[in-house]
């Protein structure tokens, strides 16, 4: 349904995406894992046309788009089909929770206000914020803000939703409520690409896992295979280190003792 082909991107002399290709099928929940600086977020931002790639093609519903440039008409059409959730929520500070969800509908899609508000209320209910509709972002907790942001991303009922480290800016205590909403969407069959550091989430919710390092995809597999039978040495190391911090510490101590 969505394909990224040979995405190449350089910041200065630093290659951040080296001919990365990725296919996403209907109903997939793709978790993109990898160390910081591996190009995960840039890949997502290029797919959302927030950063222009140096080269690459994007295919969505059999329509090809150049990732270097896009006409504003094509972009408008494409943006209707994708939703984007940011690490820092990026809620509109001058709008209430409901206003945040409906702005795109009323301004960009020219939908009548009452119709947009009906959709907005329903979406805020699904993310569990029925009682916070008239709150401004500054009066909401991080987890609530991110749930509003998810509702906003869903406003146009997009075919794919991109999540850029949706829980990285949250208190550990609040990540659960956000991950639960994302899991709920996954259960409803929504297609999503999630850049994340939450290994447990990737293991339990993702259908596929993509592991990136040094501007390239090192390994991709179904979530089950990825965690149970990683093929690449680097992937094994990453999983081991991410999941077993305590035991590596023990091991380090043992080594010291030796």
């Amino acid at each position: 349904m969505l394909s990224l082909r040979n995405v190449y991107k350089k910041f200065g002399s630093n290659v951040v995406l080296n001919n990365v290709s990725l296919d996403v099928n209907q109903g997939d929940v793709v978790a993109i894992l990898g160390p910081s600086g591996s190009g995960k977020t840039t890949l997502l931002r290029c797919a959302g046309y927030l950063t222009k790639a140096d080269s690459g093609t994007l295919v969505m519903d059999d329509k090809e788009y150049d990732m270097r440039r896009i006409s504003s008409k094509d972009l408008r059409e494409y943006r209707k089909k994708v939703g984007f959730v940011f690490q820092n929520f990026n809620l509109y500070g001058n709008k209430t929770a409901l206003g945040n969800v409906t702005l795109g509908l009323t301004v960009a899609q020219k939908m009548p206000k009452d119709e947009a508000e009906k959709i907005g209320r329903e979406l805020l209910e699904t993310v569990g914020l029925a009682d916070r509709m008239d709150y401004y972002p500054s009066k909401l907790s991080g987890g609530q803000q991110q749930r509003v942001a998810i509702a906003r991303a869903l406003a146009t009922n997009p075919e794919v939703v991109f999540f850029d480290e949706p829980t990285s800016a949250l208190d550990p205590e609040l990540t659960g409520e956000v991950l639960n909403v994302i899991k709920q969407l996954a259960d409803e069959g929504r297609t999503m690409i999630v850049v994340t550091h939450e290994m447990e989430f990737a293991r339990k919710v993702a259908t596929r896992v993509v592991f990136m390092e040094n501007a390239e995809i090192v390994e991709q597999n179904t979530a089950k295979e990825f965690f149970e039978n990683p093929r690449e040495e680097r992937t094994k190391e990453f999983i081991y280190k991410s999941l077993t911090w305590a035991s590596t510490e023990d091991k380090a101590k043992e080594e010291q003792a030796d």
Binding site: Y49, G83, F84, L103, G104, V107, A108, S138
Partner: protein, 220 residues
């Protein structure tokens, strides 16, 4: 200070106050609103990096900020008629003061716009909004909140600067005081009274500013 002066001051107070209400305040309001529009256009030209215009607006800001307002007033009111362009006192003052506010406030406005996190602009793009729609619906309203205190400062400064229009034959507060005093020779008391009028207007504005700031604070 004798009884005659007291009576004269009481009598003239109404005249000075009305000159303020009829001339100084309308000049402030018209100049400031026009100036604010100019300031936003200048700021957005620079932020949107509009080709050519972004450099032209910089030249405009440079010229206005680096020349005295009274010279600009003289050029418009006394100078332009010699090339066949004639404006009334009020219109001359309005033109000069709008351009001045536009230049001075453009930097305030630009900083305020840039203080809105760029992520909100990206979120607007993802919502399908264009740059200008994002500015109108999301960025500028928040920028105005940030810019409100420094802009209020500019309004209060402008109220006092309207007295410069005295030099281009505009009969505002100071000119009215001057006219009365030239008849009675009580310059000292009448100029003090003119100062008191400005003090009253600016104090009222200060109170309004505080109230408005509190109201803005409640809405975020």
């Amino acid at each position: 200070m004798n009884e005659r002066i007291i009576n004269e001051l009481i009598e003239s107070f109404g005249k000075l106050f009305m000159a303020g209400i009829k001339v100084s305040i309308p000049l402030t309001i018209t100049s400031f609103s026009t100036g604010l529009v100019i300031a936003f256009i200048v700021a957005l030209m620079q932020i949107a990096k509009v080709p050519v215009m972004r450099y032209l607006v910089r030249v405009y800001v440079w010229i206005i900020r680096c020349s005295p307002m009274i010279v600009q007033l003289f050029i418009v009111y006394f100078g332009l008629p010699s090339i066949g362009i004639k404006f009334s006192s009020f219109v001359s003052a309005w033109i000069v003061m709008s351009l001045s506010i536009g230049a001075y406030c453009s930097e305030t406005v630009r900083a305020a716009i840039e203080s809105v996190p760029v992520g909100q602009l990206e979120a607007c793009y993802c919502d399908g909004l264009t740059f200008w729609q994002a500015m109108i619906h999301v960025v500028v309203p928040q920028a105005l909140r940030t810019a409100f205190p420094p802009l209020s400062n500019s309004v209060i400064g402008l109220v006092k600067d309207t007295s410069l229009a005295y030099n281009v034959a505009l009969v505002e507060v100071l000119a009215t005081a001057q006219r009365i005093a030239s008849r009675t020779y009580d310059y000292f008391w009448l100029y003090i009274e003119a100062g008191v009028i400005y003090l009253i207007f600016c104090s009222v504005l200060t109170v309004i500013q505080r109230k408005a700031e509190a109201a803005i604070e409640r809405r975020r």
